[in-house]
Amino acid sequence: MRFRSFLVTLCVSLLLTGLLANSALAIPAFSRLYKTECSTCHVIFPERNEFGDAFEKNSFVWPGKLPAQSQVKPDMTPEQKKQAEAMYLSGLPEVLPVALMGQIESVYNSDSDPKLDLVAETELEMFAAGNFRQLAGFWGEYKLSSSSIGDVSVQFRHVANTPLNIKVGKFKPKLSLWKSNDRSSLKGFGHNSMVIGSNPFRISRRQGAVEINSVVTPRLFLAAGVADGTDGGNDDAQDTKEYYGHLSFRIGGIDFLGKEPEVDLDKDSIWDFLALTFGGFGYSGSDAAGNNDFYRAGLESEILYKRFKMRLSGTFGHDDDTDGLGNEAEARFYLAQAQYLVGSNLIPAFRFEYQDVDTDGITRRYIPSVTYAVLQNLRLALEYVHTEAPSATEKEAAFNIAFSF
């Protein structure tokens, strides 16, 4: 009964907030730099749209041929011109490319004590991103709430005038089509956190790595890299390096260079609004001692038609010796998520996950969610996760407020 009251209260709050809110512009780091809205790159942050995907692939340089030059303007005073020139020569972005993101989460779980935790989690994260005179893109994260460093990387663009980019740093290797936070729902995609036996490897695990990636043709993206490995779950590098590769291509929609598709304004076609993106990846690794050789492989697809988006994913894994006793293990993971954008700021979504790991058994998750952007930089999300695992069935609801500025 209390659970039902909690859900009703949250739904009413969400609805009222939605009815009372007006649209407005948001101002995170890229918005400040390019003086554009969050919705240029995001559906509802942090989920990216096609253009946001192209922007990231282009090392955080605005897609298209833009001049790399100082922002000296004729109406500037001599002092301002000198400053603008000095900033350019130093390679410094004119706007400090820093943003903050905060999150507050309430959780209700009938099996927990307490059942309702009004503020189960708070998080404050600082991130910096941009490019240095279009020669290199950079990304950095720091979680203020836990004093921990997240992804830190530099990507050298178009090395030696080739289409190749070289990315160096500590980051999540490019495997899945979607970044781990590239979703409107709260719960991360299950394939990102799936582990087999005692092998701590997860495909979204942050690692020291060197990656070569390239938009080979406007609709084909390739990435390959070598990673330090996870050395028993620690952040330390191991001698046995690990290797990965990713391939994705898109039919219809905006291409990977951010160019709109050709549209005949006199004739309707399904391709005016349909975009199909397909991806595949492979990761080959081994534990520090070289006893457990393992791989993960995945096939993914995304269907986007106007406001409707569907994601389908299959991830497969195999470990030679997952427990140190010579026992092999395999895993299969399937995901399907459908969502629909209502207006420009409301996304109801439903996800189903099926996970079959030899060492753990079969787990099914049913995850309905509703996400609402009060403003483009202020998001509310309500999600219910129903998990049927071999050990127990768990029901948990979460309400999350996220803001970025």
Partner: protein
């Protein structure tokens, strides 16, 4: 005398045609265009533009792009080729509420404004 009158009339006509027709009024969210000297078709197109475009952004963006030939957000060239690309971008944008017919009308107006601003 007749020749003189013709010459004066020709000069007046030239002066009238050389008059800048691209006039921006106000700034920021209050930006508008003075289209009173535009052909009726373009005045009708402006009525559509004034409703559709401001749903997401002020007309100042269009004003800057047309006046400078540079799109204010991207810094890219804003010419006849770009107006069509922007039209398609807006057509495909969720919640833009623009149809292909709307896009054709607005693109034609933007091209007309580009020509006027270039005179």
């Amino acid at each position: 005398m007749k020749k003189m009158a013709l010459l004066v009339a020709a000069l007046m006509l030239l002066a009238a045609s050389a008059e800048a027709k691209f006039v921006v009024i106000g700034q920021g969210d209050a930006t508008k265009f003075d289209v009173t000297s535009y052909p009726q078709k373009m005045q009708d197109a402006y009525k559509l533009m004034a409703v559709k475009c401001v749903k997401c952004h002020s007309l100042e963006r269009a004003a800057i792009a047309i006046q400078t030939g540079i799109a204010p957000i991207t810094g890219g060239i804003f010419d006849r080729g770009a107006t069509r690309a922007y039209g398609i971008k807006m057509l495909r944008k969720p919640d833009s509420d623009m149809t292909k017919a709307d896009v054709k009308v607005v693109v034609e107006l933007l091209n007309y404004m580009l020509d006027e601003a270039a005179r």
